[in-house]
């Protein structure tokens, strides 16, 4: 990290992030965000989730566009396979959160990234969700993430990037720690 002359660019505006951090330290109320999604059943196990606005910085925030995600189950579950399974969305969320973190931390540490590829695998014993064995949990019995990173850095610097990104990751926290979930019928 002795780079001064070479311009490091991972496409992350670190100054803006550090500025936001400083601003939110002074105004903690603005740091309270609410992320939202709506989901409509389509048919069978097929559903469509829409993500649009969110709340943050003390106000409703509109993106001016929406994102849609189809979820379904594969044909081996006698479904029509119209989209990734919900648990694969969890892998996608974890991978993209850690990857974004790696880019931001690398930028902050003056490390130029050339490529980052994450490969994820979540193990699951279906005896849980099928109610065959009550000692088996429904969710993953473990998740394995392998990062392949090409960057101007030593192997230990890259490992430190990956470690720091886990430390600051929302999805890593959501997956590794319990969360209260309130499900109601409106």
């Amino acid at each position: 990290m002795n780079v001064t002359a070479i311009k490091i660019d991972n496409g992350v505006n670190v100054e803006a992030l550090l500025g936001a951090r400083a601003a939110l330290t002074e105004a903690p109320a603005a740091a309270h965000f609410k992320w939202r999604a709506t989901c409509d059943w389509v048919r069978g196990t097929h559903s469509r989730t829409t993500v649009e606005g969110f709340y943050g910085l003390g106000a409703e925030q509109s993106r001016g566009k929406s994102f849609r995600y189809d979820a379904d189950h594969p044909e081996v579950f006698a479904s029509e396979d119209k989209g990734a399974t919900p648990v694969e969305f969890v892998l996608a969320a974890l991978a993209s959160c850690l990857t974004a973190g790696i880019a931001a931390v690398a930028q902050n540490r003056n490390i130029q990234l050339r490529s980052v590829k994450a490969t994820l695998e979540g193990g699951m014993d279906l005896q849980g969700i099928l109610g065959i064995d009550s000692d088996v949990r429904n969710g993953f019995d473990g998740i394995k993430v392998v990062f392949k990173i090409d960057a101007d850095a030593t192997r230990d610097e890259i490992r430190a990037l990956v470690a720091q990104s886990q430390r600051r990751s929302a999805v890593f926290d959501i997956v590794t720690n319990p969360t209260n979930v309130a499900v109601e019928v409106a």
């Binding site: 430190a160 470690a163 430390r167 590794t176 720690n177």
Partner: protein
């Protein structure tokens, strides 16, 4: 402790009041006396009170005896490489108090500190003191910090704060969960495991260190390389640096290294942070592997820095060869849930740190999280802190860290007194009755 006396009775007026007669309060007293600043040192209990009453039996300092030094005073015993027991620390600080001749008022609990026009009023259970400057030297370790989950533990489990723990024989015979992975957490897990009890330790962020490196105490290296002297205004993120837990060290006669691998070898069960309690189920974080990986990486960066220093100073011949510790062993699938209905836990000990207690400060000097706002120990001109984590330097919370901080802050304090000279005190400090 609260006396029935009415507050507001002014016991005395001095230039400065020092709150706390531990090593840093006494060191400040010596410096103030040298500058002719009239002062008192108010102590809720006895000199070195926390070391007398709030430490477990086997505790020794994490720093070697040769490093036990205070301004004008140092260890002169026969075992410079050893580590003081708590009783020896009490003797050492008592000796320092006699050496300094500090004007200590023991058994005097400060109940309030508030600003008045000409400085401060320090109210105690034995009357109030007026002063123009005050020094908060009541220690970084006032009240235990305990995770939220503590309140939801099943009633069958006995809970202990680690300042309440004394030795394993006071514990029920049954599994003990130690929460916390700094020096204290590891030491308690190790000692309780040696007593034959089953032990689980919940591990979060931690600092791993070998006791000896290249044949010398790790504290010698931290000192020599300059790590301990790094200043608060030089590091990237001081807020984060101040939160770093104490390194996993133990002061033992055999100078052994105490890390998670050592605990694993003794059969201690290692799990992630305690993050939740759901009825009888204690839930641990799945982040254990990352916390261990971070500590290993950080350790290796420190050892590399030491090795570079050895090379730059061409002293490789005087010390043994570089070495690296084996990576921390983490089970492939560490336990995430411990159901006490199926496998009882007799005692949970929270070794999750202590924080200073500022509930008696009637000043807007504490942030929303109860932390003192200060710039290198200067809360405001006239009000100073001592002994806090990384307060001015990385060594600020260590005994040997007091000297430089006291020097800097005493200078600031004296300058403040001169700048705000009042009629109650002569500039040459002729009313001072302390010092020798």
């Amino acid at each position: 402790m609260a006396g029935a006396r009415r507050i507001g009775r002014v016991t005395g007026t001095v230039d400065a009041v020092v709150v706390g007669a531990g090593h840093s309060g006494l060191a400040m007293s010596r410096a103030l006396a040298a500058h002719g600043v009239e002062h008192v040192v108010l102590e809720r209990g006895e000199i070195a009170n926390a070391w007398r009453h709030e430490r477990w039996d086997s505790l020794r300092l994490l720093t070697p005896n040769w490093q036990s030094r205070l301004p004008g005073y140092r260890y002169s015993g026969a075992d410079p490489d050893g580590y003081m027991t708590a009783a020896e620390v009490v003797d050492f600080i008592d000796g320092y108090a006699r050496f300094v001749g500090a004007p200590v008022r023991t058994g005097t609990t400060v109940t309030k500190l508030r600003a008045v026009d000409s400085g401060y009023v320090v109210e105690t259970d034995r009357g109030a003191w007026r002063c123009r400057a005050a020094v908060l030297a009541s220690g970084a370790h006032g009240v235990p910090v305990v995770p939220d989950a503590a309140a939801r533990l099943p009633a069958s489990v006995r809970t202990l704060r680690y300042n309440e723990y004394r030795n394993p024989s006071e514990l029920d015979w049954g599994r003990v969960l130690v929460v916390g992975s700094s020096a204290s957490g590891l030491q308690l897990a190790d000692e309780i495991r040696r007593s034959g009890r089953k032990v689980t330790i919940a591990v979060g962020e931690h600092i791993r260190m070998p006791r000896l490196y290249r044949g010398r105490d790790i504290q010698w290296w931290l000192d020599a390389v300059g790590i301990l002297d790094e200043r608060y205004d030089e590091v990237d993120d001081i807020v984060r640096a101040r939160r770093v837990p104490s390194p996993q060290l133990v002061g033992s006669p055999e100078r052994r290294t105490l890390d998670l691998n050592a605990l694993t070898e003794k059969g201690v069960n290692i799990v992630g942070r305690l993050v939740g309690v759901d009825g009888n189920r204690l839930q641990f974080s799945g982040s254990l592997a990352n916390h261990c990986a971070m500590a290993d990486l950080k350790l290796n960066r420190m050892l590399e820095r030491i090795d570079r220093w050895v090379d730059e100073h061409r002293v490789g011949d005087l010390v043994s060869a570089p070495e690296r510790l084996a990576p921390t062993r983490v089970e492939a699938a560490p336990r995430l849930v411990h159901d006490v209905a199926k496998e009882p836990i007799a005692t949970v000990i929270f070794a999750t740190g202590l924080r200073p207690d500022y509930s008696w400060l009637e000043l807007p000097a504490v942030d929303a999280k109860g932390r003192l706002r200060h710039d290198g120990g200067v809360v405001e001109p006239g009000l100073y802190a001592l002994g806090l984590n990384f307060m001015r330097r990385r060594k600020s919370s260590y005994m040997h860290g007091a000297e430089d901080d006291v020097h800097d802050l005493c200078e600031h304090l004296v300058h403040h007194l001169h700048a705000t000279k009042s009629s109650t005190t002569t500039a040459d400090g002729s009313r001072a009755r302390v010092g020798r």
